[in-house]
């Protein structure tokens, strides 16, 4: 299995065992390690922007899509920084490299979502991406992704169960709050007012 599948795919399917193996290996750190997987994530998100908007990959949408969507790797950086401890943990560049392997559930989810927009007619795409179909799959991706990151904190940062769960919450609180504010802050106040019946 090690020979065929990428580390990202193995982390997605067997997070605990793979992170344990990768964490023990040590491996190099450095600038390239710090940026290679965040750059891949930006490239991937740029491709999704182009596919979902225009049903094709175009340089025009990919270039500006990469710039727009770069906020996602950046808020992930911020979330991880909030949980990383210089004295006890592996070098930050190595931590980033391993942490960014955990996006498998979102990559698979977005590939499926983009496939609908790329190949279904627009009216069918709106039908199949309606909240009643999308939300259950979205929740599965959230839970799957959280379980992988929990394993990251357990096996790479060697934290206890409670501390790993806490770090996961901190990482999500920082990165998701920043991400939602950048992507869609404006309707939040009225929507919260509606939900909370204020």
């Amino acid at each position: 299995m090690t020979q065929v599948w990428s580390a990202d795919a193995r982390v997605t399917l067997r997070p605990s065992a793979t992170y344990r193996e990768l964490g023990q290996k040590g491996g190099s750190s450095g600038k390239w390690k710090l940026v290679r997987r965040p750059l891949f994530l930006a490239l991937f998100l740029a491709s999704m922007v182009s596919l979902i908007a225009s049903q094709r990959l175009t340089l025009r949408l990919m270039i500006t899509g990469a710039i727009n969507m770069s906020f996602i790797p950046l808020v992930e950086f911020a979330g991880l920084s909030a949980t990383w401890r210089r004295r006890y943990d592996i070098p930050f560049s190595r931590a980033v490299d391993l942490f960014f392997m955990s996006h498998g559930p979102w990559i698979l989810w977005l590939l499926a979502y983009a496939s609908i927009w790329a190949f279904a007619s627009p009216d069918h795409a709106f039908f199949w991406t309606a909240p009643r179909f999308i939300w259950p799959t979205f929740i599965v991706a959230i839970a799957w992704s959280a379980s992988i990151d929990y394993c990251f904190f357990r096996e790479v940062f060697h934290r206890g169960r409670a501390q790993s769960a806490f770090d996961l919450c901190v990482q999500r609180a920082v990165s998701w709050t920043l991400g939602i504010l950048i992507f869609g802050a404006d309707p939040l106040a009225p929507e919260l007012t509606r939900i909370l019946h204020l």
């Binding site: 094709r56 340089l59 710039i67 906020f71 498998g104 496939s115 190949f119 627009p122 709106f126 869609g184």
Partner: protein
């Protein structure tokens, strides 16, 4: 280089080449019917950032042109400054016409304020917000008026409202949604509006409004909405709006005016297939 990485890189190169080559705008010649110029418009368009849109304001304008729209209103949630960026860019590339707008998102209703210049506050009644839109010289359109928004549109608000979305992507997601926006439209004399509520998913203008104006200036477009000189047509050819204008459109080739439902050419399909294959291969076998 591993076989997986090679496959993914070749697939992505092919995908980007085919996609970029096929990225040609859908254009149509200006259409005149009777004494009117018929314009294709989408009055409900969101951009990055802050409004759950994925495309930058300039890409949004380019995408509008690509999808054959003559007019768009950029309607960020509860602000207008992103719309000014879009209009600035559009003026430099020669169109489409970009109207400054806002989707006024409140706990009780969503309202499109089109042709305004300042932000409309969201902590007021629908009638109050519509008054403010009119004071700024704009028009007010009920956005996706599902049943749970109806109580906000009391008699005072309905009497002042200029238009309502009768065509919106939600009609393809739920039959109940289609029925509800139709019932709302029947409650008052309103301009028929088709909008895509664009957030970067699918083609812009999948639902669009045909504006019967005297020219493509902002004033002429807003006047056409005020006087209900609009038509919205769904995928199956059902038309809403002024019957006389619908009759005028009988001989118009709708596929030319709304290319959203025209099957993509092979290069677009191949670009998507190679792109998805390349990205999946890179994730599974790429060892990034």
């Amino acid at each position: 280089m591993s076989l997986g990485r090679l496959i993914s890189l070749v697939s992505l190169l092919v995908a980007i080449s085919l996609g970029t080559l096929s990225d040609v705008p859908h254009t149509h010649a200006p259409i005149s019917l009777d004494s009117y110029r018929v314009l294709t418009a989408d009055f409900h368009v969101h951009s990055f950032p802050l409004s759950w849109g994925t495309l930058a304001p300039w890409d949004t304008v380019l995408e509008a042109r690509h999808d054959g729209l003559d007019v768009i209103a950029m309607t960020p949630h509860n602000h207008v400054w992103v719309a000014y960026i879009g209009r600035w860019f559009s003026e430099r590339i020669g169109g489409p016409t970009v109207l400054i707008g806002e989707e006024v998102v409140t706990p009780r209703y969503h309202l499109l304020a089109i042709g305004i210049h300042d932000e409309i506050g969201w902590r007021q009644s629908a009638a109050g917000a519509i008054n403010e839109v009119h004071r700024q010289g704009g028009v007010a359109i009920a956005a996706h008026p599902r049943k749970f928004y109806w109580p906000a549109y009391d008699a005072a608000a309905l009497s002042k409202l200029d238009g309502a979305e009768i065509q919106h992507p939600l009609i393809y997601a739920t039959t109940r949604g289609y029925s509800e926006v139709q019932q709302f439209f029947d409650r008052a004399q309103l301009a028929a509006i088709g909008d895509s509520d664009y957030h970067g998913t699918g083609p812009m203008g999948i639902c669009r409004t045909f504006i019967f104006a005297h020219d493509n200036s902002e004033g002429a477009i807003l006047d056409a909405i005020r006087t209900h000189h609009t038509v919205a047509i769904d995928r199956d050819g059902r038309a809403y709006g002024d019957p006389a204008l619908i009759a005028l459109m009988r001989n118009v080739d709708l596929a030319q005016l709304n290319p959203s439902f025209v099957n993509p050419e092979w290069m677009t399909r191949a670009s998507a297939a190679c792109g998805l294959l390349g990205l999946l291969a890179l994730f599974l076998f790429g060892e990034i």
